[in-house]
């Protein structure tokens, strides 16, 4: 059960139950929809960007505990950050969940997001953790939609057959 309790830590369960910034953002000037066509997870990320800074952020949608908690914590982490800062953080998060970044040894800005390190033991769930990040990134770059199928390296082990 240790890997499992690593994955479903209290903080993640709490964000799943009470996701933060879980609403439509009326002031948003960038939005994107993210879907995982293999499992049906779907979310929308709303951004209010001004002077290259994410002034406000929110999300809506449905998904598993990992994707919901990740989206919730993503919104908290990117608020107030510049595009460059967010890009760097996304890169670190992505590499951590893929097991390409040792978050304990290598200096990084992940902070509380390190809680998602356990996902790398569950290859089928990496996409759940990264969907909201990809979607936020698409919104930031003026793309209206992204799917996990367009992503390269974290497309792993999902079940597809009926």
């Amino acid at each position: 059960m240790s890997e499992l309790s690593e994955l479903y830590q209290q903080v993640i369960l709490d964000h799943n139950k009470k996701p933060r910034n879980f609403k439509r953002l009326e002031t948003a000037n960038r939005t994107a929809e993210g879907v995982n066509p293999l499992c049906g997870d779907q979310l929308t990320v709303y951004l209010f960007v001004e002077d290259d800074v994410i002034k406000d952020v929110s999300f809506e949608g449905s998904g598993c505990a990992i994707s919901k908690a990740s989206a919730s914590m993503m919104t908290q982490s990117v608020k107030g950050k510049t595009r460059a800062e967010v890009g760097a953080l996304f890169d670190e998060f992505h590499r951590m969940v893929l097991g390409e970044l040792d978050e304990e040894q290598t200096p990084n800005q992940l902070g509380r997001l390190k809680i998602f390190a356990g996902v790398r033991e569950f290859p089928a769930r990496v996409k759940c953790a990264s969907l909201s990040w990809h979607t936020m990134h698409a919104a930031l770059n003026h793309q209206s939609a992204t799917t996990t199928e367009d992503l390269g390296p974290d497309v792993v082990n999902e079940q597809a057959a009926g």
Binding site: L4, S62, C64, A65
Partner: protein, 422 residues
């Protein structure tokens, strides 16, 4: 004395009717392994079933001793390969009681079978304003090809509705049929809900209007006795990998008079009579639909899987599977917060459920940690999920090698999920 007699009687009865699951499990080598330090519980049979040793042996014997291309060589190996491949076709014919072996076209599975009918029959028969009728519970494999055809031809897709138990509404179905209806496509057994559809009735009502019916039998053939003449369906598709054969094996059955009128699905070698740059004439059935070198080893494996099924008491296997399904349904429904999706009176194979406030993916991950393989997701039936207002379900699907003890482990693991998320 009386007691002894009774004992003997009971024993006789049980050997006559009981299903010896311990012996059956020994036929499937993959089952004897541990996952996450726990004995594997394989409850994902509707996605793909496991392969018995006799099927593995048959495939490997082919590769060791008989491999060559079929229908081509005059040499010894090609003849042996051809004999084995065509022998598998004859086994399929008997298994579904088709009139003739040439009515059984080898394909990669149900999806390819449905696409073959869409291209070969649909593109020739469907025109602007025509209608294609499918059911609300179809797998994407029996939705998307018809949608593609509708888009190409300017035709309309009509959908047979279902009730809250997951049963098709036959009167509404009949009302959909009219002179514009060109084909009906419906699944024998629902992969997402477990519903057994009344195919004979569905076919009879369509035929009254002169409309042919395609039955997606991917989940039917593994669990039910299929007699295509009795069902009187016009097409029936089978996925070998869902009935104990290797992936890449499968069949689309079609009535000869329909298949003969259809255009080929793919062009290439082995499907022709003569080729010149001006014109090609096609081979007869079944070769017309089998362009290129097929999955010879897999289809021979399908033949071996049919031999294996025939060696079993299939009626007893079916009764046993039904007992397992009833047992699992009772146990899971008794857990607070668990809801069964798909409560049709006639069900087989699949048991879909949701746990209050827990996403099925999380259920799947936690069960996997317990060594239990289930499917979590939309089961390639997104419209069905929408009909029941769920984004996805967890699905346990059974084969005759599963046990009550495995169901108990499933139930305990579901309780653990609820604990983690409480």
């Amino acid at each position: 004395m009386i007691a002894t007699e009774k004992t003997i009687q009971t024993d006789t009865q049980s050997t006559g009717n009981a299903w010896d699951v311990v012996r059956i499990r020994r036929d499937f080598p993959v089952l004897a392994q541990t996952v996450n330090s726990k004995p594997l519980v394989y409850l994902d049979n509707a996605a793909s079933s496991q392969v018995p040793q006799v099927v593995i042996d048959r495939g490997s014997r082919y590769l060791r001793e008989e491999h060559s291309n079929i229908h081509r060589g005059v040499h010894y190996l090609s003849q042996r390969a051809t004999t084995a491949y065509e022998g598998a076709r004859e086994k399929v014919r008997r298994f579904i009681n088709a009139r003739e072996a040439r009515e059984c076209i080898f394909v990669r599975g149900s999806t390819e079978g449905i696409n073959l009918v869409m291209h070969g029959y649909g593109r020739k028969s469907v025109g602007v304003g025509d209608e294609i009728v499918i059911s609300a519970m179809e797998h994407h494999a029996n939705i998307v090809p018809w949608q593609m055809l509708c888009e190409e031809k300017g035709a309309k897709l009509r959908v047979i509705p279902m009730n809250d138990d997951g049963e098709l509404l036959l009167d509404e179905y009949e009302a959909l049929l009219n002179e514009r209806t060109k084909i009906v496509g419906v699944m024998h057994v629902s992969n997402a809900l477990g519903t057994i559809n009344p195919i004979k009735e569905i076919v009879a009502r369509a035929h009254k209007q002169g409309v042919p019916v395609l039955v997606d039998g991917a989940q039917g053939a593994p669990h039910l006795k299929v007699d295509v003449q009795d069902l009187d369906c016009d097409f029936y598709t089978i996925s070998g990998h869902k009935m104990f054969a290797p992936t890449g094996s499968g069949v689309v059955y079609g009535k000869a008079e329909l298949l003969e009128r259809m255009q080929p699905f793919m062009g290439g070698g082995d499907m022709i009579r003569t080729v010149t740059f001006e014109q090609t004439t096609y081979a007869g059935l079944p070769n017309k639909f089998e362009a290129g070198t097929p999955a010879i080893a897999s289809q021979i494996g399908l033949g071996a899987a049919i031999d294996y099924l025939n060696s079993l008491d299939r009626a007893a296997a079916h009764r046993y599977e039904q007992e397992l399904l009833a047992y699992a349904t009772a146990k899971l429904s008794a857990i607070e917060g668990v809801r069964i999706i798909g409560t049709a009176r006639e069900k087989t194979g699949s048991l879909s459920f949701v746990i209050e406030d827990v996403h099925p993916h999380d259920v799947g991950t936690i069960l996997d940690q317990e060594g239990i393989a289930i499917r979590a997701g939309h089961h390639c039936a997104q419209p069905t999920m929408k009909r029941f207002n769920v984004p996805a379900t967890a699905r346990a699907s059974f084969a005759f090698y599963n046990t009550k003890e495995e169901v108990d482990r499933l139930v305990a693991a579901v309780q653990k999920v609820i604990e983690v998320f409480s």
